[in-house]
Structure formats: C-alpha cells, structure tokens
C-alpha cells in the first residue's frame, strides 16, 4: 500500500539539451540521446531519450533528500522504460524501512514506471 506522506522528488520538463552533456560525459555516442529523428526511427518516440544514468541521478537525488545528502552503500536498478525530452518525472519511495528501501521513477501524468531501484545506506554515516 502506498504511503502518500512519503517524500517525492519531481522534475518538470526534462531538458533535452542537457542530454548532450550527459552523453558526452558518459562517452555515449548513441544517437537516441542527441537526435530526435534517430530516436523516432528506432521506435523510442518523438523526442531524444534521456540517458539511463541521468534517470538514476534523479533517484539518487530523492535518496539524498531523505538521508541528509547521503550516498547509498549499494543500489540495484532496473530500467524498464524511457524518459524523453520534455517529460515530467517523479521519484518516490515504494518501500522505506530504516536505512534501506525501494524507489520508483515514474513518467507523469500516466505514472508509467521507468526505473525501479532497491538501495541500502551505509550502516554508519560517511
């Protein structure tokens, strides 16, 4: 059962131009991140596709908000969908038990889950 009082993290209008920056840092020349026509031809939709690690950064932001800017000791993430330029996304805890839990990143307004992650925080603060 969801708990609406739990913290969420939201980004309105995922910026397409920043996808170039992320792809460059990652050394990722995949055209779907920089060329909307390439993304369309490969069946991803009508806009550039956010690099998966950028979506993961959103989830890490939520965890940092909850745990006083902390970094997890471990995280496992499954990428089940794509975020396109212009999308609004929201990360929220689907489970939170002490210093571990599960997070989902959803595309709004439909709420399609695009990333699920389980994480654990360090036993002691770093």
């Amino acid at each position: 059962m969801s708990d609406d009082s739990r913290r969420t993290w939201r980004l309105e209008a995922v910026p397409g131009l920043d996808m170039h920056f992320w792809a460059e840092m990652l050394g990722d020349p995949n055209p779907i991140h920089i060329d909307a026509s390439a993304a369309r031809e490969l069946g991803f939709g009508d806009a550039t596709v956010n690099p998966g690690p950028t979506n993961l950064a959103y989830v890490l932001n939520l965890i940092a908000d909850e745990f006083d800017s902390g970094t997890p000791s471990e995280l496992e993430a499954r990428f089940s969908g794509n975020v396109l330029a212009g999308d609004t996304v929201e990360a929220g805890f689907s489970r939170l038990e002490g210093r571990e839990g599960q997070v989902e990143l959803r595309r709004l307004p439909l709420g399609e889950t695009v990333l699920e992650a389980t994480f654990a925080m360090p036993k002691t603060e770093r």
Binding site: D18, G43, G52, A57, L60, P72, E76, R78
Partner: protein, 144 residues
C-alpha cells in the same frame, strides 16, 4: 546462447571529475549543491562508463552489435566503497563478464552483455559497477 568474447578484459582508462562537471550535472538534474567536496553519487557510474579505455562503440562491436543499433541500459548494480571527490582523477578497470544472445520482443535478436567496472583512486577502490546492456544484433551478423 552464451557467446565467448575473445577479449573480455577491456583497456583500462581514467576519468577526471572536475568541479565544473559536477556543478553542471547537479544543475541539470536539479540536485542539491555540492557541500563537502564530494561529487554527486552518479559519478561512480559516469566515471565507470566514461573512463573505460574502450569506447562504447568499440564495446558494442566486441559484443556483436553496433552503436547505431541503439543499445539500452537494462540494469545496474553500484557499490560505493569510498568517497569520490571532485577535481580528482580515477582509474577505471573493466571486463565483459558474459554475453548471451536472446530473442527480445522489443529488439528482436539481441545480445545481453554484462560488464563489470572498478573505479579506483590510486589503490583505493571507490566503486564497483555492474551493468547489463541490451544490444540489438547487427542484421548482417552471422551466428558466431
């Protein structure tokens, strides 16, 4: 079907996390400002992928695909072992753990590749990153 990869050990490389890079990454993903000299935790992943000594395009070729086919990241596991500060250079070691050819509803015949990265600062292991990538197989690629 599991494929043998002839060169599972990828070339080692390095990745420099600059403060400017961290600032821009934080701004673009609406993260909190850096407070203690530590880079955003996503830089464990960025350093791993961006710092490996083999390009992603070459990695796709090694796995029997190509970058133009639109490889996607299926899953990842990250272990943060030590703080990663900005304005520091990190060493990256990587190896292909395995590649498996599977039929995929979305991609047709695709290669599932698992790659392990270790991100080091000097002798200190800062992060261990496992990734699972799905790479659509080249149309002209013969079964190996």
């Amino acid at each position: 079907m599991t494929r043998e990869v002839t060169t599972p050990e990828l070339e080692p490389g390095t990745f420099l996390i600059t403060s400017g890079m961290d600032d821009r990454a934080r701004a673009s993903c609406k993260a909190l400002p850096r407070a203690d000299g530590n880079a955003h935790p996503i830089f464990a992943f960025i350093a791993a992928l961006g710092g490996m000594g083999t390009s992603i395009a070459a990695l796709c070729e090694l796995c029997g695909s190509s970058i133009e086919a639109g490889p996607v990241l299926a899953s990842t596991r990250i272990r943060w072992l030590a703080p990663m500060t900005v304005d520091s250079e990190y060493g990256v070691e990587a190896r292909i753990v395995d590649t498996v050819a599977k039929q995929s509803r979305r991609f047709g015949k695709a290669i599932h590749a698992r790659i392990r990265f270790t991100v080091l600062h000097g002798e200190t292991e800062c992060a261990e990153v496992d990734i699972h990538m799905i790479l659509p197989e080249r149309e002209s690629d013969d079964e190996r």
